[in-house]
C-alpha cells in the first residue's frame, strides 16, 4: 500500500508532505515491532478516560486517546504527525493506565519516542535541546542530578533557597551523616567498578549509539569517556 485509505488522516492535514508514506510506514513498523507494543495496546473504546486522567491533556493540545486510536487504526500519517508534534508533551506519569481496555498510551508514547530518537527525527532533536547535560550526567556517572546543578541561574524560579544551597554546597554536603552523600558532582559516591559495568551496558545494548543521530557532539564525548575508562581497566571491546 502506498497511500492511506480515505478514512485515515489525510496527508494534507497530517502535514509533512515531503516525507513519503513508505518512510512513515517504516517508522510505524518500527514502533509495532517493539516487544512491548502488543502488551500496551488492545484497541481503543475512544471513551476518553485516559484524557480525563492525563495532566498533559489539561495544559497542552495533547490527547492520549488520539495516540491509542491512531495506533489501533494503524493511521500511518497521524502516527507520524504525533511523533513529530505530540509525544514530547507526555509527562510519562502513566495515569492513563486506568484505561478500561487495558491500554497503556504512555507506554506507546515511550516506544514512539525511542523510534523518534533512533531515526533522528526533528522533534527528538528539538526536545533534547538543553537536555544534553543531563544525559551526559546519567550516562557517565550513573546518577542523574548532582547537587552542584542546583545553581540559582539554572533554577531562578525555585526561590532563594537554591542560592543558599549553592553557596554552602560543600559544607552542607559534608554535614550529611550518610557516608555516601558527601559528593557534590554526583548524587552519591559511585565506585569505579560500578561505572565500568554501566559503560559496558550502554555500549553492548546500543544505548550509546542511540544518541549519535540526535546529538553528535554529546555522543562523541560520552564515547571517549567510556572507551578511555574501559581501556584503563584493560577491557577490550
Amino acid at each position: 500500500m502506498t497511500e492511506a485509505p480515505s478514512y485515515y488522516k489525510s496527508p494534507t492535514v497530517a502535514g509533512y508532505p515531503d516525507v513519503s508514506y513508505e518512510e512513515k510506514a517504516r517508522l510505524f513498523d518500527e514502533v509495532k515491532s517493539d516487544i512491548r507494543f502488543s502488551d500496551y495496546l488492545y484497541g481503543c473504546y475512544e471513551c476518553g478516560i485516559c484524557v480525563a486522567a492525563c495532566p498533559s491533556a489539561r495544559f497542552y493540545d495533547f490527547s492520549p486517546r488520539r495516540v491509542a486510536q491512531a495506533a489501533a487504526r494503524e493511521d500511518v500519517e497521524l502516527v507520524y504527525q504525533q511523533m513529530q508534534e505530540d509525544i514530547w508533551e507526555c509527562s510519562q506519569c502513566f495515569s492513563c493506565l486506568r484505561c478500561p481496555r487495558g491500554n497503556n498510551p504512555g507506554g506507546i508514547i515511550t516506544i514512539m519516542r525511542e523510534v523518534a530518537i533512533n531515526n533522528g527525527l526533528a522533534s527528538a532533536k528539538e526536545a533534547l535541546e538543553g537536555y544534553s547535560r543531563i544525559i551526559y550526567k546519567i550516562m557517565s556517572t550513573g546518577t542523574q542530578v548532582s547537587p552542584d546543578m542546583l545553581q540559582p541561574d539554572a533554577f531562578p524560579d525555585w526561590g532563594p533557597e537554591t542560592g543558599d544551597v549553592s553557596n554552602n554546597l560543600d559544607l552542607w554536603r559534608r554535614a550529611l551523616p550518610s557516608e555516601t552523600l558527601h559528593t557534590t558532582s554526583t548524587g552519591w559516591d559511585v565506585s569505579d567498578k560500578t561505572l565500568v559495568e554501566l559503560y559496558l551496558i550502554w555500549l553492548h545494548t546500543g544505548a550509546l549509539d542511540m544518541i549519535a543521530d540526535v546529538d553528535t557532539s554529546l555522543h562523541s564525548i560520552l564515547q571517549d569517556v567510556m572507551e578511555e575508562r574501559l581501556e584503563e581497566e584493560g577491557i577490550e571491546l
Partner: protein
C-alpha cells in the same frame, strides 16, 4: 465525508486478542521462582523477620524488616538529602542493620522517561546489574525512589513475559561476570515504613494530633504495574493505596481529603528540567491550591523524590502571581523521623526545602531557631577543621 473505519477495526480486532501469557501477571514472585527452577535466573530470597502486607488484588507481599541494601534515588540524594538521611536514621533508631552501597547506579529511568535515550535491554540490564550487586552483599534491596520501583516492576514484567529479552540480558550479565538476578519482591521504602508503622509509633516522642496532613500518592508507585502496591481495607476502604496515609494516621496526624488526589504532581521528567512552566502550573493549580481550598493542610506528605521536588519548588514562582499556595512539603520518612524526635536540620535537612516548613515545626513543638543554631554549631566544627564530615554520632 468521513467514513467510520469499521472494516479496519474488524480486521484489527483479531490482533488485539489477549494471549494467556501476557499482561497482569497474577503472581510475579511465583513466576520468578518457576523460572529459577528452570535455571533461567537467580532469585534473591527474603530472609529474617518479615511483615506481610495486603496488595491491590489480594496477593500477600512480604517485607523484610532488616539487613537491607538501600537503593538510593538521584533526586533525593542530589537535592533533598534529608529524605535519604531520614530513612537511614529511622532504620538505625529501630535497630535494623543496613548497607548503603557505592556499588549502585541510578535505575536511569528518570532520563529514560524524559529523553527515551535508552532501550528495553539497557534498562533491564541496569536493573539486573544493581540487583546482582545487592545479592553479592547478601543484603536485600529496598528501593528509595518511586520511579525506580515502578520502572523495576516494568522491567520485571518484561523479563518474565519475553524469553528473548531474558536471553539478551543474561548474555550482557555474562560479560560483566554476573547472573541474571532478581529479588523475590520489589519493595519501596514507603512500604517498609507502612509495614513498620507500629514500631515507629512506639518510639514517637512528638504529638502530631493537631497536624493537618494531605497525602499525594506517587504515580509510579501505584499506577505503573499496579498489582503489588499496598492497599489496606482499613485505609480508604482499600480503594486507594495505603502507604503514606496508613503511617500518618498511625502517628496520630489529622489526614484530610481533597478531590484531585489521583492527579500526578506535574513532574514530567523532562518538564521539571526544561519545561517548568507546565510543571509549576500543574503542581500549583491542580494540587497545592486544591489542597489549600479543600483541606487547609500544614504539610503535604508524599513518597517519591519527584513529587517532593515538584510540589515544594513550584510554589515560589506561583506566590509571585498571588496564587493560593504556601504549604510545607516533605516525605513521610522525614515526617516520621520528626515524630520520633529527629533533628529538623541535622537529620531531616529541611534547609534544602523551599516552601516554608517553620510553621509546621512550631505546631509540632519544635523550636526551629534553636535547632538552626545547633546545626550551625556542627558546621563550625567542619569549618574549623575539627572534623572532615559530620557522622551519626553528631546528629543523635
Amino acid at each position: 465525508m468521513t467514513t467510520i473505519p469499521v472494516e479496519a477495526l474488524l480486521r484489527k480486532k483479531e490482533r488485539f486478542e489477549r494471549g494467556e501469557d501476557h499482561r497482569a501477571l497474577e503472581d510475579p514472585t511465583a513466576e520468578l521462582l518457576r523460572l529459577e527452577e528452570q535455571g533461567e535466573l537467580v532469585v534473591q530470597k527474603i530472609q529474617g523477620d518479615v511483615v506481610t502486607v495486603p496488595t491491590k488484588y489480594g496477593r500477600e507481599k512480604r517485607i523484610q524488616k532488616g539487613h537491607l541494601w538501600h537503593h538510593k534515588s538521584c533526586g533525593q540524594c542530589g537535592h533533598i538529602p534529608g529524605y535519604s538521611t531520614s530513612i537511614f536514621w529511622v532504620m538505625r533508631k529501630l535497630g535494623y542493620d543496613y548497607h548503603d552501597p557505592r556499588d549502585q547506579t541510578s535505575c536511569t529511568a528518570w532520563n529514560y522517561y524524559a529523553s527515551a535515550t535508552s532501550n528495553v535491554a539497557a534498562q533491564a540490564a541496569v536493573a539486573v546489574r544493581n540487583f546482582a550487586a545487592a545479592q553479592e552483599t547478601g543484603y536485600f534491596p529496598l528501593v528509595h525512589c518511586g520511579t525506580s520501583y515502578g520502572h523495576y516492576k516494568e522491567v520485571r514484567e518484561e523479563l518474565l513475559t519475553h524469553p528473548e529479552l531474558r536471553t539478551e540480558v543474561r548474555e550482557i550479565m555474562g560479560k560483566l561476570g554476573k547472573d541474571l538476578v532478581f529479588p523475590e519482591e520489589l519493595v519501596h521504602y514507603s512500604e517498609w515504613f507502612y509495614a513498620m508503622r507500629d514500631e515507629i509509633a512506639a518510639l514517637q516522642t512528638r504529638d502530631l494530633s493537631g497536624v493537618r496532613v494531605t497525602v499525594h500518592p506517587a504515580c509510579h508507585y501505584y499506577k505503573l504495574v499496579e498489582g503489588d502496591a499496598i492497599y489496606d481495607p482499613d485505609v480508604y476502604g482499600g480503594q486507594r493505596t495505603a502507604v503514606v496515609t496508613g503511617l500518618a494516621e498511625r502517628l496520630g496526624a489529622d489526614v484530610r481529603e481533597y478531590s484531585t488526589w489521583f492527579d500526578c504532581c506535574g513532574f514530567g521528567f523532562r518538564h521539571i528540567l526544561v519545561q517548568r512552566d507546565f510543571t509549576r502550573s500543574f503542581a500549583t493549580m491542580r494540587k497545592i491550591e486544591v489542597m489549600k481550598e479543600e483541606a487547609d493542610p500544614d504539610v503535604v506528605l508524599t513518597h517519591d523524590t519527584g513529587c517532593v521536588t515538584t510540589l515544594d519548588k513550584s510554589q515560589f514562582a506561583a506566590k509571585a502571581h498571588e496564587r493560593n499556595v504556601g504549604v510545607a512539603v516533605m516525605s513521610e520518612a522525614q515526617f516520621a523521623a520528626l515524630a520520633m524526635g529527629a533533628h529538623p536540620y541535622k537529620v531531616c535537612q529541611l534547609h534544602w526545602h523551599s516552601a516554608d516548613y517553620r510553621p509546621l515545626l512550631e505546631k509540632m513543638g519544635i523550636d526551629w531557631e534553636q535547632a538552626w543554631a545547633e546545626f550551625q554549631e556542627g558546621l563550625k566544627k567542619l569549618e574549623k577543621g575539627d572534623k572532615r564530615y559530620l557522622d551519626w554520632d553528631d546528629v543523635d
